[in-house]
């Protein structure tokens, strides 16, 4: 009896328990409202359904969120990701629009390479401002957040570049093995980021720098390089997300592409259990957070909530999830329950482990 109780406590105490509950609750609410919500059907060898749409539409946010997770884990923040999305999408669309045959795969690949390359440069810019010059991350990336929109406009010459390129469109709405290609891209990038951080010591070192920068310096960590690196990774992730966003609509709008995605990404990271103060991060948590936010967006549209109030609705749900996740907030409402069992004797017991 008590072991099952302890197991239950371990489940509810998990940092991702409440986001998962919120996600399930949203799915249930949708199903009640629209019984066909959960159904997935096969048409022309492609899977269709609201769930598939949510996965596909969440892909750009997942990508941006992954990079943002690493930046936030070092104790920083990257406000420029939306602008980077717009710039990389703009340069890719510009290159494709100049091709004689917009459907040629070669031209599209060069366009993608250009976009990634430019994102890399923008990441280096952010990284240099923060780690070499030492500007506070929120200010340093605010520069590119604002200036980047101008840069994107410059690339598109103030116009919306519309393209007609099947290979490029595939990045956003194409299918592979019955599923949207975007899902595979997001999953692939997630696997690469996970491998780079968890198969090497990078993840631990990022957490160390974010957890205690001075202690990390005195342990011989070159924290400047680590900080630099995460901004580059973040920009590249945002650049790839920019392809998806522009491919979805086959056009590059320097003003609208990726607008406010930095806020959704930061939310996804926080919902995923990574502290804005830096330190321990969870890539899986961020992906879950991104899915929750996209489900919410889809719900708002599906329930015909007017666009004017949809942001408010979203805000309410997000606040609820963030609050219920905070142990201090839960403690106010829950009666004090014994925590997980600890070491056997008082002498072995460190003071701090005693619940307050």
């Amino acid at each position: 009896m008590s072991t099952s109780k302890a197991r239950w406590a371990a489940v509810t105490g998990h940092s991702l328990f409440w986001p998962v509950v919120a996600l399930i609750a949203l799915l249930v609410a949708n199903t009640i409202y629209r019984p066909g919500f959960l159904s997935v059907e096969m048409k022309d060898g492609h899977l269709y359904g609201s769930l598939i749409d949510i996965l596909r539409l969440a892909a750009p946010l997942i990508l941006v969120g992954l990079g943002m997770t690493l930046v936030i884990a070092t104790g920083g923040i990257d406000l420029s990701v939306g602008s980077v999305c717009a710039i990389s999408g703009a340069i890719a669309c510009l290159h494709i629009s100049q091709q004689p045959d917009q459907n040629a795969l070669g031209g599209v690949l060069v366009a993608l390479a250009l976009g990634v390359g430019l994102s890399l440069v923008l990441g280096v810019w952010n990284g240099a401002l923060v780690s070499i010059i030492g500007i506070q991350p929120i200010i340093a990336t605010l520069i590119l957040m604002v200036a980047g929109r101008g840069l994107a406009q410059l690339i598109t010459e103030g116009q919306i570049i519309t393209i007609n390129s099947e290979p490029y469109k595939a990045v956003g709405v194409g299918y592979l093995l019955t599923l949207p290609l975007a899902i595979f891209i997001a999953a692939g990038v997630a696997l690469v980021v996970a491998a780079v951080t968890r198969r090497t010591a990078l993840g631990m070192i990022i957490e160390s720098v974010g957890g205690n920068a001075e202690a990390s310096r005195l342990a011989g960590i070159r924290s400047g390089r680590i900080t630099f690196l995460v901004y580059v990774i973040s920009a590249v992730c945002a650049g790839i997300a920019g392809f998806m966003i522009t491919a979805n609509v086959s056009s590059a709008d320097g003003n609208a592409a990726g607008l406010w995605i930095e806020l959704d990404a930061i939310l996804a990271v926080v919902i995923g259990g990574t502290s804005l103060a830096g330190g321990r991060f969870s890539l899986g948590g961020t992906i879950l957070g991104a899915l929750l936010i996209q489900t919410l967006t889809t719900t708002v549209y599906a329930m015909n909530i007017s666009p004017q109030t949809s942001l408010l609705f979203k805000a309410v749900v997000v606040i609820a999830v963030c609050l219920i996740q905070a142990p201090a907030f839960r403690a106010r409402f829950a009666r004090r329950r014994p925590a997980a069992p600890a070491a056997p004797t008082a002498a072995d017991q460190p003071k701090e482990q005693v619940p307050a």
């Binding site: 010591a201 205690n212 202690a215 990390s216 011989g220 070491a343 008082a346 017991q349 460190p350 005693v354």
Partner: protein
Amino acid sequence: MSGRQPVLTMTAISKSFPGVRALDGVDFRLFPGEVHALMGENGAGKSTLIKVLTGVYGNDAGVISLAGQQVSFSGPMQAAAAGVSTVYQEVNLCANLSVAENIFIGREPRTLGAIRWGEMRRRARDLLVKLDLHIDVTQLLGTYSLAVQQMVAIARAIDIQARVLILDEPTSSLDATEVEQLFRIMRQLRDEGIAIIFVTHFLDQVYGIADRITVLRNGRLVGEYPTAELPQLALVEKMIGKELDVLESLDEHAKRDLAAIEANTPFLQAEELGRKGSVVPFSLTIHAGEVVGLAGLLGSGRTEVARLLFGADRADHGKVAVDGKPTSLRNPIAAIGHDIAFCSENRRTEGLVGELSVRENIILAMQAARGWLRPIPRRRQDELVDKYVKALSIRPADPEIPVRNLSGGNQQKVLLARWLITEPRLLILDEPTRGIDVGAKAEIQKLVVQLSDGGMAVLFISAELEEVLRLSHKIAVMRDRQLVTELANDHTVDADRVMQTIASGTHHEGPEA
């Protein structure tokens, strides 16, 4: 004492946390006008007892009565209102508020909601003068030394008409003169009839001030003794529950032939090394296998010397040679490259990464030296970590729990383990035994001896002269940010002589500023 009624009695107090019996039927009595030392190792239950008393925790069993009335406080605020005030180890005041604001925060004299600043300042001044502290109460608290901040915390506590004043390790960050100043105030308060509970790890201080001692061990009461009837060694034995011969045997270590060690090639030679505003240029030579003690008051420049030698701060004057070859210790990475390791005195802010696990904290420096692209294989990590968790008896022995959940002594050992696995040739230890219990202290001292016997050079910084004398071959004395002299630790040197040197500052050669 027998004729009087105790102001506070705690009877058969028990408190359990899941899996732990933190207090088991503990009795405690406190009389008005006494300083009562509460002693025990980390985890003995001292803090829990105080937290039960002040209402931070509820007790499972037992009765608390204050001046004959049974009480049960809901929290420290209520306890303070009833006359039980606490001053914590870490000064928990606001450095960015003025002294007066700190004393009256939350209970400012008001008229219709508006604060009467004049009255507040005047009352603060009066209160501090009573404590023999003449400072400007309108200045920010942060501009004063830790000692003054501690006094302000005490002023705040006693202004709430305290009958019982609890001082939880108030001296761990104070130097000798500051401790004396604190003691003077404690005696004054005692003579006014306030009962003081004094929690500390410094045995000398207990004998300097306490009237009676209550010893706890493993959550149980060992006994209550008049200080005069409990010799120091007996106290230590009661605290740790076994005979303590480790410290005795260490005494022989230091008094060995310094000449034999000095004959080795020097590992590190610093020549006129200095930094403006930090430490006056000094020269220091450390040989392999040598323990160099760095003595001096708090703020005398001991830590600054260590930081220059580790490259934590950059020297702007002088030269350094390692193994006889000139080099520059411009940053920690350069120093680590020369096999120099540094355990900072501020374990939490400059040592450990609290939310990372014990394992991750231990391998951090080694991993940093390898670069993130070459992770230490998990099996190798576990081997190394297991070895040092055992060797240093780090408790609890679970390497996967966050290091911030460990007690101070165990955190210190984790920091030591981090550097020991890198096999340094010079280990700089800045106050490695501060704020940790007697058992852990002895283990760390023993380790220093073993390491130096194994050929490691050690720079040992401590405010406790006994410890420096016990371990060091050579003692460098710091005063006012100057290295004033070096003493070979032979039979002619004792604590008095070092104290005199610190006090008088007699030095054979005065390095230029």
